[in-house]
Amino acid sequence: MASSATQPVETEWRLPDRGTVGIISLILTEISLFSIFVIAYLFYIGKSLTGPFPKDVLEFPVLATICLLSSSGTIVFAEHALKHRKMAMFKMWWAVTIVLGLVFLYETGVEWHDLIYDKHLTIATNVFGSTFYSLVGLHATHVIVGMTFLLIVFIVTMRGFPIHTQIRRVTFLSWYWHFVDAVWVVVFTVVYIVGR
């Protein structure tokens, strides 16, 4: 084949990073999963035949919400520090993120304990209980998964692993964490505002 007859192939050949595409696809499939639980919650508002009803037992989880939402900010600070190789700052903000996440989980635990033992609402009590525990629980499960990865990163960093070589993966983890946060905004709106 004469080279003059050959059209030059694009010199610039850039494609999106496969990890980026993968994590976005994962988040989209998760959104699809959450939507169904949200739809179920909305569908069953006011359909419980017996109490307790949301307005009797639900209180705004103010502290939990503040903690989780601000952890989205602290993880950005941590990422930023990592990109500039400020390792002390990274460790500090990363630890703050973990603490904020743990406070959220603790608050959820307290809320559930209160609901189950004092207000006698379980997953089997009525459709409110069924939808409440499954939607909030699904979200909490995602927080736990995110927390596990946050802890892994923290532990390996403290043991001297050069985490700055893994900025891509840290970024993906932070996207996932933002996603979990965004889901909480939806869950909060649906459960504690619309649902009451």
Binding site: M1, A2, A5, T6, Q7, V9, E10, W13, L15, P16, D17, R18, G19, V21, G22, S25, L26, L28, T29, E30, S32, L33, S35, I36, F37, A40, F43, Y44, K47, S48, L49, T50, I123, A124, N126, V127, G129, S130, T131, Y133, S134
Partner: protein, 558 residues
């Protein structure tokens, strides 16, 4: 490609370890081609099992008041037949074909996430085995049930604790849920591979239609499967934690399950038909010696079908008593799907029109696909008419309709794909003679089985009945239908014989037996582990045409 000369001693040692090593190399593989073949082989095994179930079903229905199997067994048979065909045949065939072909077609070394790929396969297989273990394990503590018997769509409240004792329904839930994880993982992999791994010059506008269709398919999988998973999790909560999602006595809604199931279930039928679309879009041009007619329109149509298919699910629920406005909405949306589908059929026909047609076996299957898919689409439009559906829902007319899509269209497309790409994957040709026997017997058997079922439905025969009384005019049609099923079985035996024969003493295929135009035919058959010695570079949508015709390459016109 160059053979490596091993010293004598080493080669003898190799022979000694070969069996365990070969086994190990397959179990531990992360190679997309091997995983693709493993998906296909598993799917074919499940296909044979579910096919035998269909044979028993047809044997039971061949005459009225027959006693081949009892009602309980019959319920399990149609449940397992449907569940297997959709989740353990259709889904792994999608994963298998995508895995094997997409990296080759886009000039990549492997999928984007090879280890995730292997995980997807094994978790799928585990789900399948879990489902079938129900035959042994589902007796459980309650002494009730063996395999699931709630139908492939497992309508609530039939699946609730009160009505489905024992653990058979739990095997259905968990088996499907677990294998669904495999499908999602493999779909994410397909998306990342197509978007990020294409070789130099392989722009989206040049990407083979096969890859286009399969990547849209993968998008549909990641968005459509989670609703089923969510519904199944709720069902598990109902069954094990006493939740009330589908418990009508505590304010729960059985109809909600239907919505969740069909939000998944309708896109799922398009998910299943897409591999056939993908195959036909590659095979028809090659065997008509013409580029595909209206490439952009084909891509547009596939994307449109992907979108619209998420807004039509409740056409499966007209009989449930929805508001008239919902009925009108879902009927209209369902008619809309006919438009892009019509575009596709038109473009395939326009590609064949005036072409230099070679009726080799892959092309035969494609032509039959086009006609049978057209009829499937037409009965689909009929069923989308709400009052018509009220009359014929849950009758054999519906059975005939969806077997036209899944057997007459999906299966024919898959056979076209197997005949077309088998030489690439194995280096051996399938016999054209046996292939034609296979094809014609399958066409005849298919039409004898399913054409009469339309009439049975119109005559009022409900689906899922294990037997029927004589004297309603159903006997001759059922008889013909069962004979047709037997002929299909013979066709499948021809296929199995053809594959085994080809593997043992098939003619050598060479790199490019069909004189095709896509990238996978430039490498050896079977391709080496690394696919391509040098990274391919692409200048048009038919890179192999450009190589073969340097004086008149495609890129001059694109």
């Amino acid at each position: 490609m160059a053979t490596v000369d091993y010293p004598l001693e080493k080669s003898r040692r190799q022979r000694e370890f070969s069996l365990s090593e070969a086994l190990y190399s397959w179990v531990a593989t992360v190679d997309h081609k091997r995983l693709g073949l493993m998906y296909m082989t598993s799917a074919i095994i499940f296909f044979l099992i579910a096919g035998v179930m269909a044979m028993v079903i047809r044997a039971q229905l061949i005459v009225p008041e027959n006693h081949v199997v009892g009602p309980q067994t019959f319920n399990r048979l149609f449940t397992m037949h449907g569940t297997t065909m959709v989740f353990l045949v259709g889904m792994p065939i999608i994963a298998g074909m995508s895995n094997y072909l997409i990296p080759l077609m886009i000039g990549a070394r492997d999928m984007a996430f090879p280890r995730l790929n292997a995980f997807g396969y094994w978790i799928f297989l585990f789900g399948g085995i879990l489902l079938y273990f129900s035959y042994l394990g589902a007796n459980g503590l309650f002494g009730a049930g063996s395999a699931p018997d709630v139908g492939w769509f497992a309508y609530a409240p039939l699946t609730e604790r009160a009505f489905s004792r024992g653990t058979s329904t739990d095997y259905w839930i968990l088996g499907i849920l677990v294998s669904g994880i495999g499908s999602i993982v493999s779909a994410i992999n397909v998306i990342a591979t197509t978007l990020s791994m294409r070789c130099k010059g392989m722009k989206l506008s040049r990407m083979p239609l096969f890859v286009w269709v399969m990547v849209v398919d993968a998008w549909m999988v990641i968005l459509a499967l989670p609703p089923l998973t969510a519904g199944q999790v709720m069902l598990l909560f109902d069954r094990y934690l006493g939740a009330n999602f589908f418990n009508t006595q505590a304010g729960g809604s059985a109809v909600l399950w239907q919505h969740f199931f069909w939000i998944f279930g309708h896109p799922e039928v398009y998910i299943l038909i897409f591999p056939a679309f993908a195959t036909v879009s590659e095979v028809v041009p090659v065997f008509s010696r013409k580029p595909i007619f209206g490439r952009q329109a084909m891509v547009g149509a596939v994307v449109a079908i992907g979108f619209i298919s998420f807004g039509v699910w409740a056409h499966h629920m007209f009989a449930v008593g929805m508001a008239p406005i919902s009925n009108i909405f879902f009927a209209t949306a369902s008619f809309l799907v006919a438009v892009p589908t019509g575009v596709k059929i038109f473009n395939w026909l326009a590609t064949i029109w005036g072409g230099k047609i070679r009726f080799a076996t892959p092309m035969l299957f494609c032509v039959a696909f086009i006609f049978q898919f057209l009829i499937a689409g037409l009965t689909g439009v009929m069923l989308a008419v709400t009052p018509f559906d009220w009359q014929l829902t849950d009758s054999y007319f519906v059975v005939a309709h969806f077997h036209y899509t899944l057997t007459g269209s999906f299966l024919f497309g898959v056979f076209a794909a197997i005949y077309y790409w088998f030489p690439k994957a194995t280096g051996k040709m399938l016999s054209e003679t046996i292939g034609k026997w296979h094809f014609w017997l399958l066409v005849i058997g298919f039409h004898l089985t399913f054409d009469p079922q339309h009439i049975l439905g119109i005559l009022g025969m409900p689906r899922r009945v294990y037997t029927y009384a004589p004297g309603r005019g159903w006997e001759p049609w059922n008889m013909i239908s069962s004979i047709g099923a037997a002929i299909q079985a013979i066709a499948i035996i021809c296929f199995a014989w053809n594959v085994i024969r080809a593997l043992i003493k098939g003619e050598r295929a060479g790199d490019d037996p069909w004189d095709a135009w896509t990238l996978e035919w430039t490498t050896t058959s079977p391709p080496p582990e690394y696919n391509y010695e040098t990274d391919p570079e692409v200048r048009s949508s038919r890179p192999l045409w450009d190589l073969k015709h340097p004086e008149d390459p495609d890129w001059k016109y694109e």
